[in-house]
């Protein structure tokens, strides 16, 4: 009986590499992280890495994909708990903020590193933005349909929401002495809800549905 399953063993090695790459990319950025750095951090060798992955780029892509997936899943889970459209939007906003607040590294990879990875990943970045903006647009459309919000150009509104969120997080990441990211939720919520034409009464109601 094998003490350790070789497949399991290999998988864990693979995982170690992924983890090491994740934090290395987050710390120094894609271009400034050498494959040797990842190898060292994962306590393996360059050859070992190239046994599990075809290229440095592939590692990065996989990281990007799974990270984005996790975030989307979290948001969708939180949103599913709410029935009212505006509450859904609030939940989405809150979830993104709290998730990043608790996973600064994740945020760094998704925001700073993707940008710093160069033109090769522009298509990926674009797809990611599209994905999240689409998510938001869905909630806004729903809000419009149910009459919770007056008709509006949800296309542009979703881009605005995404861009705003993006900028808030990016600023928090770059700040010297970063405060709590969640602290900006109330004000951000107010501004964004207002931008979508949510009635003042509903805005004043506060967003503390849980």
């Amino acid at each position: 009986m094998p003490r350790i399953d070789p497949a399991e063993q290999s998988r864990s090695r693979r995982e170690r590499i992924l983890d090491a790459a994740f934090s290395a990319f987050a710390k120094r950025g894609y271009r400034d992280t050498a494959v040797d750095d990842i190898a060292a951090a994962a306590e393996t060798s360059k050859g070992g890495i190239y046994f599990h992955f075809p290229s440095k780029e592939a590692i990065f892509r996989e990281l990007m994909q799974t990270t984005a997936d996790k975030l989307v899943a979290r948001v969708e889970r939180a949103v599913a708990l709410e029935a009212e459209p505006v509450a859904k939007a609030e939940a989405a906003l809150r979830t993104v903020l709290t998730t990043f607040a608790g996973h600064r590294t994740m945020a760094r990879v998704l925001f700073l590193d993707l940008a710093g990875a160069g033109r090769a990943f522009q298509a990926e970045t674009n797809a990611l933005h599209e994905r999240f903006a689409g998510l938001i647009k869905g909630y806004l459309d729903e809000a419009v349909q149910t009459g919770a919000v007056p008709p509006l150009d949800t296309e542009i509104a979703s881009v605005v929401w995404f861009g705003a969120l993006n900028e808030v997080v990016a600023r928090w990441l770059l700040a010297d002495k970063p405060g709590s990211l969640e602290d900006s939720y109330p004000a951000l919520r107010e501004v964004l809800l207002r931008s979508a034409g949510v009635p003042e009464a509903r805005i004043a109601q506060g967003g503390a549905a849980k």
Copy 2:
């Protein structure tokens, strides 16, 4: 009397290098542009470039600086023509959009390239964002003070405005078949004015001053 002023001659060569670097950076990004590429495009040599500039980085910084300056100057000029605070905000928005629409290359350098230039320029990027967000915040503060707009957190609102604008332009830059950037002005204006609490009556009034 010299037919050509040597200082003038040198300046024009310097300018040629700057121009070549500008479009090269815009086309391939900072990291993927070799100094030799710039030299070729400027019809000069690497040595010639290093005679006029101390480093590749210095070229990029100078480009960044002057480009941002030009944009800010344009915005401030347009804003100065308006008296009413909301109209000022509209003018700023419109100017940014039309300027980028007419200078796609400028936009590429300011948006895509700065991001793609890597961590070395993070501070610069940050400063640039700060600068523009600050500009916006000034207009919003004024609008609040004159009562054109109810009190609001202009700190976060300016970040939202900037982030939104940023995202709209970035999308336009990355689009396969980019439509006219100015076309998004009406919807963007509406959403952003609403986010600042501008009365619906004023929004409906349209933004076609000047």
